[in-house]
């Protein structure tokens, strides 16, 4: 009986074994070689050259959270891609933005999305926002071997907490350490500059429209000082990806909407290149 489970084309026993609702757990039992963390890297000298995604920023506002990213991927001093997308919906109420090695990041997002969807389908209910954030933590930890070879992936996870009725942001480090950020967060090479900008502009009572403007301002400042972060590209009509998650779910701003925000900022910066000024005292 056991011998012909393969030849008959029936579902292998592992598929019908009750147990975990996690797709990653299922894979690690059934086909561990498909998991990114189980890949053996050959010994290499120096850092592997691969496209890196750069800056991601997130801001909460009463009623939700905004997550945005620039569109540049760099490889050393070369711009590898001008219109890369680094912010993705994780499920209906959350989004994830990835900085770091683009190829691995996109694979991790794909697996993370699937992990959440799989749980939802098997259990008939969504994971809690904390639960989702913890799953992502585990997946980053599994990438630690790669990270030590220079292929790190550092995401920001943002979502609307249906139970607490507010937007929340989680940031991570390469070891999978997770911390909840209050107000705003940034990751990637331009994050220092973006964080500085957000620190001066953030308020507790932002509206959704103000929050989306704030993230684009922060990305503009990051691009201003970090060569690996791309600013709005008016000639090619490439603008930051801006996503909003509220009670009514995930929404990505259309190209028209994000270009409008970017253009209005650009216009003001023609007069005031360093952007809005905060009060001294």
């Amino acid at each position: 009986m056991e011998a012909n489970t393969r030849s008959t084309g029936r579902l292998p026993a592992a598929f019908l074994t009750p147990g975990s609702s996690s797709f990653v757990d299922f894979l690690s039992e059934h086909q561990p070689e498909l998991l990114p963390g189980n890949r053996q890297l050959p010994p290499t000298q120096g850092v592997i050259e691969a496209p890196h995604g750069t800056t991601i920023v997130g801001v909460t506002f009463p009623g939700g959270v905004v997550l945005a990213g620039d569109r540049r991927a760099t490889m050393g001093n070369v711009i590898a891609q001008r219109d890369i997308e680094k912010v993705f919906p994780a499920d209906e109420y959350s989004a994830v933005g990835m900085a770091g090695t683009a190829g691995l990041a996109i694979e991790m997002v794909k697996l993370f999305q699937l992990e959440l969807e799989h749980f939802e389908k098997v259990e008939g209910a969504q994971l809690s926002l904390e639960g989702k954030a913890n799953r992502l933590s585990t997946m980053i930890r599994q990438n630690l071997g790669m990270a030590m070879q220079g292929l790190a992936v550092v995401p920001i996870f943002a979502g609307y907490d249906v139970d607490r009725e507010k937007g929340r942001i989680f940031s991570y480090d390469v070891t999978g350490g997770r911390s909840e950020e209050h107000g705003f967060a940034a990751t990637g090479s331009g994050s220092i500059f973006a964080r500085g900008a957000m620190k001066k502009l953030f308020r507790d009572d932002l509206s959704e429209a103000e929050a989306t403007t704030l993230v684009v301002q922060a990305l503009y400042d990051a691009a201003d000082d970090d060569s690996a972060t791309g600013g709005p590209d008016v000639a090619r009509r490439i603008y930051p990806i801006v996503t909003v998650i509220t009670e009514s779910g995930f929404r990505r701003l259309s190209d028209d909407e994000s270009s409008e925000i970017a253009r209005s900022i650009l216009e003001r910066r023609l007069e005031q290149p360093d952007g809005p000024r905060a009060a001294l005292l």
């Binding site: 579902l11 598929f15 019908l16 894979l27 498909l34 699937l114 969807e117």
Partner: protein, 256 residues
């Protein structure tokens, strides 16, 4: 020492089929119908949590009648199969045909293996297409056969009676409310020719809606939306007729 009785293979298979059919007939029936914008699943289910219909993948839905633990196992197996396939290839490469095939092989092997007891389940796997012509509905009886259905299909206890009723009345391009009304009418028919009332809170309804903007087309219809649709279809007709009669049907819905 006793010699085992000789049982002819025909007899053994017939016994197993009889066993499985009886198990399936014990459960409530459910129907799957095509309508203009997709495929609707309707069944009677007193439980809010233990579903008969569920999502397998973007465009693929699953319905099952029979023994809960067995079809739940198959459902999870199907979700794992679909997710793994979509992960290794692409989301577009997960098809109802492929899934139905795997289910058929699984049920068939279990049915004809003397070491296992046959599954007492009958499945429906449906995939909604871009257009009504692209819709696919497969019915998978307990023995591993596979039937390509069009328009409407019923499985479970009174399946034959219900599908006859549906075949005569189902039309292409019905609205959701019309299809739902027809489904409820079909499900309320009893084998002795009488009608009984199925209250809205005992109905489990789900759709694969091709007009949904998300890539995942499966959606449960509950609460106010369900009430509105039932109203629109005018399904709620008459009859506070004999609660007692309904109760007795609950246990007696199992005649072959």
């Amino acid at each position: 020492m006793s010699t085992p009785f000789y049982v002819s293979p025909q007899q053994a298979m017939a016994d197993r089929a009889e066993y499985a059919r009886k198990g399936i007939a014990r459960g409530r029936s459910l129907v799957v119908l095509q309508y203009a914008d997709g495929i609707v699943f309707v069944g009677e289910n007193p439980s809010r949590a233990l579903h008969k219909f569920s999502e397998i993948y973007d465009r693929i839905g699953f319905a099952a009648a029979g023994k809960y633990n067995e079809y739940e196992n198959l459902r999870i197996g199907g979700v794992r199969y679909a997710d793994l396939r979509g992960y290794t290839y692409d989301r577009d490469d997960v098809t109802a045909r492929g899934l139905a095939n795997v289910y058929a092989q699984t049920l068939g092997t279990i049915f004809s293996s003397a070491a296992e007891k046959p599954y007492e389940v009958e499945l429906v796997v449906a995939e909604v297409g871009e257009t009504p012509e692209g819709d696919q509905i497969y019915r998978l009886p307990h023995d591993g056969s596979i039937v390509d259905e069009h328009g409407s299909v019923a499985v479970g206890g009174n399946a034959e009676l219900i599908s006859n009723y549906l075949d005569q009345r189902h039309q292409d391009g019905m609205s959701l409310a019309e299809a739902l009304k027809l489904a409820v009418q079909a499900l309320s028919r009893e084998s002795n020719g009488t009608q009984r009332e199925i209250p809205a809170e005992r109905l489990e309804v789900a759709v694969l809606d091709r007009t949904r903007p998300q890539s995942r087309k499966f959606k449960r219809i509950v609460g106010r939306q369900l009430a509105r649709l039932l109203e629109a279809g005018g399904a709620t007709t008459e009859a506070e007729s004999a609660d007692g009669a309904e109760d007795s049907e609950d246990s007696g819905g199992s005649e072959e």
